[in-house]
Structures are given as structure tokens and as C-alpha cells.
């Protein structure tokens, strides 16, 4: 007997045999194909497209965020936010083949937003401290983060957001100047200018810092 359409639909919704019965998880078919296919799947609301986007670019986005922000407790939230933004704005991507660069832009702009918010908050906190209006409570330093790493990002935190991001992508992520310009959505000339200023600032402060001085002067010290 041929199953009725209702019965077929009900069978399609049964959980796979390998999954625990009480979980009732329906596994969508994975998205296969290049970025053009992935973008099409995202725009059409394919149930597996969000997972495919994350699986394809999650590591890359995490690396961009870590390079720009350093060891940051907000990293898991930012990772989530970048992909939520990508899913919301996928309709604005004109060329699907440009997906990798576009995702990088979203990651960079998400990081920049956080940097600017924190900068405003620090400025306000500084005012309150100066006026004795409020004591700022801060978490203890994370012992698993080396002092050199902390010191490097302390210096970066005091740079303007645009310089900090371009510097981090160039020096910490080792990108070419053209890649830095593309990631930040700025001209090559602007990227060069920002990086040059940031390098000068960083070198001047790092040379005066005990944790970083050795790293600069003896770059191969730990490798013997």
C-alpha cells in the first residue's frame, strides 16, 4: 500500500535511529558546494545554511577577533554576534564569490564596535574616578595570559580603533597591506598611514616596557 502523503511527512519528521528518542532532533541535509551555493542557501533560508556558514568560517572569524582584540572574555559572544550579523545582512552581499572578504569585514566591524564602546566607557569611568564619584570594580588578571601578551594589548588599547585594527592585522596576523586595506574597507594609502603611526606608537611604548623590551631586542631568545 502506498503511504498517504500525511504518513510520509510524519515519517520524515522521525528522529534518526542513532539519536536518543527523547531528543527528537531532525538533522537537515548539509549544504554542499562553493560559496555561491552557500550564499544562495542562506538567502533561501535553508535550515543547514547557518551551520554551514559557521563551519566554513568559524575558525577564520575567531582568528580575526583574537588578533584584533587579544585574549578577550567577550570572544564567545562576539563570535556569535558576527555570524548573527552575517545571517541578517546576507542580502547586502552583491557578489557571492566575495563571501570570505565580506565575512572578514563583518568580523572587523564587530570588533571595532566593541573597541569604541569600551573606549567610551573607559573615558567615562576615568571621569568618575577623577571626581571620586564611583569606584570601578575590575576582574583580576587572568594568570594563564602571559604578561607580554597582556602588555602588547594594553598598548594597543590606547591606540585609535582604526590604527589598532590595521596594526593588529598587519603585525599580529601577518597580512599583506592590500589584505589589511580590504579587511578594514579602507584605501591602501590609508592603511599604510594607520599602520605606520601605530608601529611608531607601539615601538616607542614597547621599548619602555620590561615584558616587551626583551621580545623586541632578542627576538629569537626563546628559540636559543
Amino acid at each position: 500500500m502506498t503511504p498517504t502523503p500525511k504518513l510520509q511527512a510524519s515519517r520524515q519528521r522521525e528522529a534518526p535511529a542513532s539519536a536518543p528518542a527523547r531528543m527528537g532532533v531532525v538533522q537537515p541535509l548539509p549544504v554542499v558546494g562553493d560559496d555561491t551555493a552557500l550564499v544562495a542557501a542562506l538567502r533561501s533560508g535553508h535550515p543547514g545554511a547557518a551551520a554551514a556558514l559557521f563551519d566554513r568560517y568559524g575558525t577564520h572569524v575567531q582568528r580575526v577577533l583574537v588578533r584584533v582584540l587579544g585574549p578577550d572574555p567577550d570572544l564567545p559572544d562576539l563570535l556569535h554576534d558576527v555570524f548573527v550579523t552575517c545571517l541578517e545582512r546576507i542580502g547586502t552581499l552583491r557578489d557571492p564569490a566575495a563571501l570570505p572578504g565580506w565575512v572578514t569585514n563583518v568580523a572587523v566591524f564587530t570588533a571595532r564596535g566593541l573597541i569604541r564602546r569600551r573606549s567610551r566607557r573607559r573615558w567615562l569611568d576615568g571621569l568618575f574616578l577623577a571626581w571620586g564619584l564611583r569606584r570601578v570594580a575590575v576582574p583580576p588578571p587572568d594568570p594563564s595570559v602571559s604578561e607580554g601578551l597582556r602588555a602588547a594589548y594594553h598598548i594597543c588599547e590606547r591606540m585609535p580603533a582604526g590604527e589598532r585594527i590595521a596594526f593588529a592585522l598587519r603585525i599580529f596576523d601577518g597580512r599583506e597591506l592590500t589584505d589589511v586595506a580590504a579587511a578594514c574597507a579602507i584605501s591602501l594609502a590609508t592603511a599604510k598611514r594607520r599602520i605606520a603611526r601605530a608601529e611608531a606608537t607601539f615601538l616607542a611604548e614597547a621599548r619602555a616596557h620590561p615584558a616587551l623590551r626583551d621580545w623586541l631586542a632578542e627576538g629569537t631568545r626563546w628559540t636559543g
Partner: protein, 421 residues
Amino acid sequence: MDGLEGLRDLGRRVAEMQDDLVGRRDHLAAARHRLLATTAARPGPARRTTVRLALIAAGALSTAAILLVVLRLDRPRALTFEIGAVGRPAEVGRWIAAPAEAELPIRFSEGTRIVLGRRARARVTKVDAHGAHIVLERGEARASVRPAAAGRWRIGAGPFDVLVTGTRLKVDWDPGEEKLAVALAEGAVTVSGGILGAGRPLAAGETLRAFGREGYFEVQSGLSAPPSPEPAVAPPPAPDLSAHPPDPVHGAVEAPAWRGLADAGRFADALAAAERNGFARECATRGPSDLLALADAARLGGNLARSRGALSALRRRFPGDERASIAAFGLGRIAFEGSGAGGERFREAARWFETYLREQPAGPLARDALGRLMEATNRGGDRDGARRAARSYLDAYPDGPHAGLARSIASAGAADNRREP
């Protein structure tokens, strides 16, 4: 090596350290889980696009002043929270301690409730419009989280992270034994970090127990209510609060003013602020976290003697605390970088790094401590000690940042052995 060349080397080292840190704290699985939960609760892209176009069309017909008012009213506000039965307003970052004789509730403005068990210690480290991060330093916390599609609640306990999306659960953390128990009554969570690695989802009715020292975890299911986790061995004795000033007094403690200055990178100003309060008094009254931060600020502000003082006070006042071991590492670093005569400062540094390794053989600074021990013993003239440290380092961390130095010390030792008759 010129400045830019040194900068590029520094950049590579920074990247290597970051990759190592990120590898130890796998956030990808937790972020993926949350993303898929979020997208499952949201309308599809076609419907969102239609809604967005309709709003844009409506907005285009309004005046700019009306739009501004609508946007301002629509801006989400961060949650607030209160502590205790009487509901004392509290700030992010404050240390929260439940007394020995009673539980301590923390109530958030949207309805979520966290109850700390007796003697439990916690801190709310972040709050925004969608949730909060709570760090459970010790003991039990029962959470009743109000469900929300965009909810972001996280409970950290040691190396573990419990990502919560609208649930009732109980978390119990014993930092001394490195044991975590998460019992879930409703909803879903993902527990990640430490031996759990990428993350382990839990369903309602399941209890996860992770044994960090032993290196395994287990999940039991079919329990109708969050049970109390049964320790396999007797729990460590509760600290005698009368023996030394406690880090948290019943309720919250204000962070000292110099902490904000230190966090802003103004180390000299932070140290000056601590001096104005009385440096000895700060060392005698502040808890372990504050003492570590004070030592950092003093060292980075150029006063190694004050840094040594804060670290020594920490070790003297809190001998069993993990942060006392971090203080040992810090004392080793000060000795190494100091200006004492000849080999003595390196020998002192080596003693402190050995102390750290003895107290925290698997601690977060163990690799650094072993590498620095190797270098300190080498510079202090203890060739045999340096070779032993080098071999230990290469066994444990063959690709670590000190591996090159370890290999050169070990091979120099081998050459010496071949030359001997």
C-alpha cells in the same frame, strides 16, 4: 635587529601565544550551539527582509525627530541586579560571598534568579541587555534563568563554562579538587572547557560530573530534580576565616580605586594611589586577587620592591590559595629581572619557579615556569639542574616556546658528556 624586524618577530610570538590560548579554550562549539539556537528561534530571512522593508518604508514617511525618539525608546538597557534578601543593588565585578549559615540570592531585573549556597563565592563579571556572566569561584549556585530567544547567560567555574538558554539548573564547583557538577532540571545547556573540550550539551534531567584532576567526566540521566553532587573523597576543609582577613566579607567588597587605574594601564598612578591608602595596609587587608593586581601594577610601574612586598604578603596570608602559587611565579620573575649580584638572583629565581611547579604541577603557568627554571638554573651556573629542566621541558612541551633553548642546553650537556674521559 632593527625595530621593524623585531616588531615582526614580536607579532609572530603574539600570534603563537594567542593560538595556544584559543586552542585551550575552545569557544567555537559553544558559539555554534548558541548561533543555531538563536537562528531556530528567529523568523526566516525572507520574512525578516519583508518586515525590514516595511519598516524602512514607514520610516521614510516620518519626520527625523520622530525616528530619533523611536530609536532612543527602543534601545535595550542592560539588566540590573540585587543581592540578598533585602535586595541591595550591586555592581559588576564585586565579590559576592554567601555566609556560612545561609544562602544568598542574586536577583536580576528581568526575573532570573541565582541562589548561592552556604559559603559559596561568586562574581558577576558582565551584564548586558540579554543576560550576564557569573563566575562561580567556589561552592554551589542554583539558577532559574528566564527563557528568552536572545538570552545570553553563562556560568564559569574554573576552566569550565556553562552556557545557559532559559533553564533551571544547579552548578557546584570545588576548585581544590577541580570537580564540577551541573544538574539540569529544565531547558538546555552546553558545558565546555577543561576536559570537556569543545562542549557537551545537557538535556533536562541529566547531571554532568567532571573530575578535572582525574581527567574524566560522566553524565547521568533520568533524575527528576537536581541532586547534590556527592564528592568521591572528603571535600577540603572550609577555610578558617578567623585566621586571616577573608577576601569577601558577608556581602560585596568595593574594589580599591587603584584597580581602575591599573586596568587603564596607568601603573605608576595606581601604585601612587595604593601608597596614599597605605601600602602596608593594602597588603594586610586586600584579598588574593587584589594583591596580585597590586603586585602587577607595582612591577609595571617600575617598583620591584613593592611588587615583591605584595606577592610575599599574598603567600604569607593565603598559603593554600592557588593565587599564592602564582605569587611564587611572580617572585621568581622579579628575582630574574632584578639587579642583584651575579648568580644569586638566578638561583633565587630558580627556587621560586621550583616552588610554583611543586605547588601547581599542572597549573596554567607550569610550562612557563619550567622554561624559566631552565633558564634561571643555566644562568645561575647549575648545569646539571639546567639539563634536567631542559629534558623535562622537551618531554612535556616539545613544541613549546622554550624548546629551542632546551635543545641547546640538552645538546651542550651531551657534548660535555662525550668530552669527559
